[in-house]
């Protein structure tokens, strides 16, 4: 009883105390803090249906022939009539900027910790991830706000930058990452390596050579040289094509395959937070999935037959029906489905019908086949025609696609004797098929200004304005420095 009345004499404190939460004041001071912060770079980009673990990046590149969706929230991308209010757009925008700011906090605070290899590795990862974030942002949205540690505190007022300034930061970040990152981490690590930085930089140069900067042959040369470092240069032998194309898509092989240069991956054990969801979202409903998106009939028809096609598509469903007989969710005519993400490993196998919603799968951001094709395209462009190295790079991908040993020339599969234009077209086609459903084709179409040619007769009212997506309407209204893209 007396205790009750004596409570007040302790006198409650009006200072805000949050015993269970971290505050900014005490963090980013030690190597341990930086290590934890390095993990924080990736979480915004994968897990919780928030970014690359789910449909968003795939449907937002649905303007390519590879991806189609009838779902009300996704179909506008496929039909090149995206809306500024789209939840897909605002979700990816948020994820990318969250990751950028987490990177900025590392980059701006590294000097709090004495220099060491560990510190460099954290900084290298931060610079790689920031470059990757901006690379996606500017390819989707064009001019956006360039936020660094220096202007982070008044980020809302920052005026959007020219695309060239954004690429300047991307290039400088990747160049530093090349220096700071090791050739490899542990066997099961998915951290970006030196190879990832170089590979991504070659893709950045390739993109800078085309639309919208159109920097042309000089940058094709830079792209070729950077790609060459992984093929025949300092990192030669680290990456190679996986012998069987189908093995690439086995989730249990995500750490052991030799082709992945940078991936995001999930684990199901932690619920939705760290799980991948492509295996369920891309599975047809008849196979127990959601059928959020699928492919287009025109793409299936154009796709050359072979083991690669077999591993890329799901054409007969588990109940034995053919894709063309079924209806897609939403009721449209049947469509071919992708097979690439069906097998996340763990508890969900390729042919299982009832798979858990949360998977151990992955999303490939950069793999060696991409680098080979970057080399082939860039070399042809830089040199005005295909040289031996360009042919070999392209043909290696073609041989593997046909189920052959990539390193052994095969007259039946290998291309030769092509003109500059023929070779260029062949590489772009090969990229379309090889990298289908990996959020690649759309970016190829815009950088090579092929959107009208490919989609002009397929969708209504295709214009140059469709090259960029609308920026999220709410973000444009919140930031004076952000201007909506033309046509939206």
């Amino acid at each position: 009883m007396l205790v009750l009345f004596s409570i007040p004499f302790s006198c409650v404190d009006l200072e805000e105390v949050t015993p269970g939460s971290l505050t900014a004041i005490s963090l980013y001071k030690t190597q341990d803090d930086l290590d934890a912060a390095s993990v924080g770079l990736y979480r915004p980009l994968f897990g919780g249906y928030e970014a690359f673990d789910f449909d968003w990046p795939i449907v937002m590149t649905g303007g390519g022939e590879d991806v189609d969706s009838q779902a009300g929230i996704f179909s506008p991308f496929d039909e090149l009539r995206a809306e500024a209010g789209s939840g897909s757009i605002s979700t990816m925008w948020k994820a990318l900027y969250k990751s950028i700011n987490n990177a900025n906090n590392i980059i701006g605070n590294v000097d709090n910790v004495p220099g060491s290899e560990e510190r460099d590795r954290v900084e290298g990862q931060a610079r790689f991830v920031r470059a990757l974030d901006y690379f996606y942002l500017t390819r989707w949205f064009g001019e956006i706000q360039l936020i660094t540690f220096e202007n982070q505190s008044n980020a809302g007022d920052v005026v959007q930058s020219e695309v060239s300034e954004i690429y300047d930061l991307i290039v400088s970040d990747l160049q530093m990452a090349e220096e700071l990152l090791p050739v490899s981490f542990s066997e099961t690590s998915v951290r970006p390596t030196q190879g990832a930085a170089k590979g991504l930089l070659s893709k950045v140069y390739l993109t800078m050579a085309g639309w919208p900067l159109n920097l042309g042959s000089q940058y094709y040369g830079l792209a070729r040289d950077k790609a060459a470092e992984l093929i025949s240069g300092s990192l030669s032998g680290i990456y190679s094509l996986e012998a069987d194309f189908a093995d690439l898509w086995d989730g249990d092989n995500k750490f052991s395959n030799t082709e992945f240069i940078f991936i995001f991956h999930g684990i199901s054990a932690n619920g939705t937070t760290n799980a991948s969801h492509h295996h369920i979202a891309s599975r047809p409903p008849t196979d127990g999935g959601w059928g959020d998106w699928y492919s287009e009939e025109r793409f299936l028809n154009a796709f050359p037959d072979g083991p690669r096609k077999d591993a890329s598509f799901r054409l007969t469903f588990s109940n034995g029906t053919d894709w063309s007989v079924n209806n897609v969710p939403g009721g449209g005519p049947g469509q071919p489905f992708t097979a690439k993400y069906r097998n996340p490993g763990g508890d969900c196998g390729f042919d299982d019908v009832g798979c858990p919603e949360h998977g151990d799968g992955f999303f490939p951001v950069l793999r060696y086949a991409d680098v080979l094709l970057i080399y082939a395209e860039a070399a042809n462009q830089a040199e005005g025609g295909p040289a031996v190295g360009a042919y070999e790079a392209l043909n290696q991908v073609r041989r593997r696609a046909a189920g052959l040993d990539p390193d052994i020339p095969d007259a039946g599969v290998d291309l030769s004797g092509l003109s500059f234009t023929e070779f260029d077209e062949a590489v772009l086609d090969e990229r379309n098929w090889e990298l289908a459903f990996e959020a690649n084709r759309w970016f190829d179409l815009i950088r090579r200004e092929l959107v009208e040619a490919v989609n002009g007769n397929f969708h209504v009212g295709v214009t140059r304005d469709d090259y960029l997506l609308p920026k999220p309407a709410l973000q444009v209204s919140l930031s004076d420095g952000l201007t909506q893209n033309p046509g939206y």
Binding site: F5, E16, T18, I73, K94, Q145, V190, G330
Partner: protein, 1018 residues
Amino acid sequence: MKSILLILKIMVPKLLMFISLIGCFKAASQTFVSGTIYDDTGEALIGATIQVKGTTEGTVSDYEGKFILQAQPEDVLVISFIGFVTQEIRVGQQAQITVTMLSDIEALEEIVVVGYGTQRKRDVTGAVASLKPKDIQSLPVSRTDRALQGRIAGVNIQNDNAAPNSETRIRIRGSNSLLGNNNPLIVIDGFQDGRLNMVHADDIASIEVLKDASSLAIYGSKGANGAVLITTKSGTKKEKGLKFTYSNYFARHEIRNKLDILNAAQYAKRQNQDAAELGGIQPFTEAEITSFAANGGTDWQDEIFTEAWAINHHISLNGSGERINYFLSGDFLDQDGIVLGSEFRRYAIRANMGYELTEKLKLDLNSHISKTEDSPVTLNTFSGENSGSPINSALLWSPTDPVFTDKANREYTLPGYDTDVGPLTDYNPVALAAEPIRDFNQLSSLINANLSYKLLEGLSVNIRGAIRLIDEENNEFINNRPTQIENSETASIQNSRNVFTQTSYLINYTNEFGGAHSLNFTGLYEEQFGEFNSSWMGARGFISDAVSYNNLGLGQDQFPLSSDRTRRSLRSYMTRINYVFRGKYLFTFTSRWDGSSVFGENNKWAFFPSGALGWNVGNEPFIQDNLDFISLFKIRVSYGLTGSQAIPPGGSIGLIGDDFTYPLDGNIVSPGIGLADRASNPNLKWETTEQFNAGVDMELLAGRFNVTADYYVKKTRDLLFERPVPEATGSSTQFVNVGAMQNKGIELYIEGTPVDKEVNWTTGLTFARNRNEVLELIDGNEELPIGSVGFPGFDNFIWVQVGQPIGQFRGAQFAGIWQAGEAGEAALYGAIPGSPKGVDVNGDTVINQDDVVILGNSQPDFAYGWNNNIRYRNFDLNVFIQGVRGIRKLNLSQLQLLRGTGKDLLDRWTPTNTNTDVPSRIGEATYGIPNSDRYIEDASYLRVKNISLGYSFPEELLSGLGLETARIYISAYNVFTITDYTGYDPESTNSDKDFNSGVDLATFPEQKIYTIGLNVTF
């Protein structure tokens, strides 16, 4: 009351002499009877009226309580006095009669609990409504919150979901806050963190609802949403010795309204027709359809809804000793939910003790302990694999599928059983209801002690110390029977503890001086402290269901642990002055200062003043002389500020997110940190509500008719808003104080006893109209999308707009179906005949966000209640009608039915069936406009909330059994409803946020309840 006594003291002796003299001149043949009248404390009762029944003979007791009058032995004396129960005594042979008068419970209503004290009703200047306990207890519900529905004008109670342990939405005078809390403050015996569902209705002595600023400003930053003050019973001094009460009821709950769904044969035909339309394979053969027609299929609603029984027992004993009084009670409730697998049990004990330690020192110790065991079924979610909503699934599942493939081994049919129809991603409704084990156990204890010391006449101090502990253990074991996915069993345990302490130091001074002045001063210093901590652990993949959630170590994958701890504290000063001049002019001034830990660094202290004036017009001579049927006529005006500090702990400071985990180095999760979604704001503060109130109280014919009317205007500014900040900052939102909202309304309460003969009929009518209006939004915005419907395709469906009430729906307008003759026009919209047609507002041949219009809002126009008690001899009848008008709801169960098994699907558009609102299969699927007004419905309703009939056994029968009173009753609750709403219930909603309260995702449906019960005292 005191003044009446004073008058009586002076007048009575004179009258007595006069009456006695008259008596002396009466005929000498009469017998004289004399006696003494005492009140229940043993004091002589002066001025009681003693009358010979059926005659005009009478007298009043003198200053010693004595009386004398002439009566025959067969006469009956009727003894009455204001505030006491009238008694009838047969004269018989006794010459000397001693009568002890008992205080009338009704008389207690003259005193009103006003927070930190009590006041005479006559002197109250604020808008305070009292509820008589007998009104609540006539309802067969053990939950006080449900019992309050429709009883008090301006208090709107909505049964959002009707699971046995669900929360109700209580709103006093509308919603003040957009994102903050709109729940009223619940004060139980002075303790400020009460919960209504933890007080048994039979333990309540009085309920007061404070509605205006003058009565609420004393609660400062916790007062903006109104307050419900509950006073629990204490031991009475009526009799020395014990008094027991026992009550119980048995109730049968059944679903109020099942939705219309297809039977198996209809469904199979429908699927075949759909398939024919789409050009696919026919899922069912004619033979199968014939067989379904003959043998039926599965009615999934019948499978998951059951009739449920509730049993409630309540026992109490109360009494008093020399210096002690006590009220002890215990109750037990066992209630099954009408959805398979849901159950709720509660055991509670209350001990209210009062000790007079010395003449001047008094201790009151109220304690309450309860244990609850809740087994809910998860609802309001759509997917969730093994733990999805059974109700949602029941609207989608094919009636052609059986429940089990092997009943003995509890093997359920899976999605797509036998055919590819029915949902493929929602699981068996029966499995979802019956299989998950959820045991949510709560132990709650409250000790609330008050020590009062009388320093001098009129001057007293009080110290209240209270501590409340809630321990919760939420256990779940979700097996994999619904999905049959290997290793998908999950088990988890969440432990949490919620401690709240309150200490109040109160000084009170009362004096009456100069004959005309009455003054009351209250001063307060108070501290409140709350701490919440919780921990969660879970695992997945169990080889056996045998251990349930009791051995998480057996799980293959351990989920990462999580735990948290938050604190909040509040320090306050308060003063209140009540001044009454000549009993006619009333003044109240209050002020409160609150300092709170959750306020931002730059805004630690808040000030809340209020003032009120009252004028007892009825006490003016021009009323008293000319209109003597008016016994009370009071005009009240008040104005003041109250606040809401519904800021979560840590809301003002920038936190670092610790949930940035990622499997960076293999198949294990690495811990990570990053910017939290919410940015800091050191200026964060309370929401301020400024309220003006004008009201009238009138009592006619000595209280036989009462009318109370109030008009109020509330403006809430500095609304707590989670403002979106540019994502470029790395954060998404920030708590800020911007914007304003207004609630304006009228309330009317009429109560009376129109018939008071052999049949006694009392009736009470409440009416309240509240108009909510958003006055200002952040950054000068005129409108903003807010919240989420929780259903794909309904992005930006709910808005707030300046000048409009919250909860506004916006979407396209559904204009029926494109007909065959309109094919050309339909094609412009990419549609075909059979597709739903939208209204193309801007005529650009695209239905998109430019065609969105306002589709109404979810705020009611007005609410009303009509309560009737009729007594005839030993019978009593209660009829309670209650309703709401002008409320609109988004009925998503209708949408689910049209995707699943709704009977409306029989009426699909075809080239030959054109007069319909249901699109063709292809039309619906390919060209659907989900975010339209197609599913918005008027959810106004009028319902007979309760009818109960009671019978009290006659005394002569009971005395032989040693009983004092005994009553049995039967009742029907929600027995009759008039509404156009086609969902489960017009009151249902899913969201705890008021702007989202118009969204109904097929929640736990409201029920009809049939009850039989018994009340006994002895």
